[in-house]
Symmetry: C2
Subunit: 112 residues, 2 copies
DNA sequence: TATAGTGCTTTCCTAAAGGATAGTGGAATG
DNA sequence: CATTCCACTATCCTTTAGGAAAGCACTATA
């Protein structure tokens, strides 16, 4: 009459969700890993994101050591966002979501 | 001087995120796939979830055809939640999140 | 008859996410 | 000299997520 424990899976999944939740974090990581380095380039590569949200998320991703903010001392100063090696560990998650998302969209349109 | 397009990846990833976002959807799916069928069993298997949130998320997951609500006409009536076959397609995502979460926790504790 | 369990709903609330729009200061570009 | 680019910040607002606590109709159990 007891329930089945699933904490072995639920706990680490929740830990992961806590880091990458929200609409924007993974898209931003994808954009930076694709090679977009400038604030404006990242912004235009992600339709719908506003500068306020982008700035906030970039700070969060920096704190999680997924990207780094690099100040290049040219005149004028340049600011670059680069992926940290740790961002690579997210690749399996991104791939799985991409595959699922593509399939899901196919499924949705099949119904019509 | 242009930005690099990453829409091929960003769009499907956003489609997936739109379905499974939030703290609770994946934990609930994990619990149901583990074999928990009763409302109360699912609830106690996921620490911290409230009945209000659970009820709401179960409805959403039903609409996405990830689980089904089954009414069993015993006396008294029993209500069971069962995974739909489509839920299995989420396994690669859950696995990737689990692996990442376990590794992340290790990384965090290494730092101390 | 009192108590407990089941599957929720209801109410009230706070916090966080997200969106729209405008602006800013410096530097470069025409 | 006006405009544009860059990397943001500021302000204001709406929506959504989520949490705390209570309750409720029904059945079962002691």
């Amino acid at each position: 009459m007891g329930y089945l424990s699933c904490l072995d899976t639920v706990k680490p999944v929740r830990d992961a969700i806590d880091v990458i939740n929200g609409k924007w974090k993974l898209p931003i990581i994808i954009s930076v890993m694709t090679g977009n380095e400038r604030f404006t380039d990242i912004q235009v590569s992600i339709p719908g994101i506003t500068p306020k949200v982008l700035a906030k998320e970039l700070k969060g991703l920096e704190q999680h050591q997924l990207i780094k903010r690099v100040v290049v001392d040219d005149y004028p100063v340049k600011i670059l966002y680069k992926p940290e090696p740790y961002a690579d560990t997210l690749t399996p998650i991104i791939d799985a979501l991409k595959v699922w998302g593509l399939n899901h969209r196919k499924k949705i349109f099949e119904k019509d």
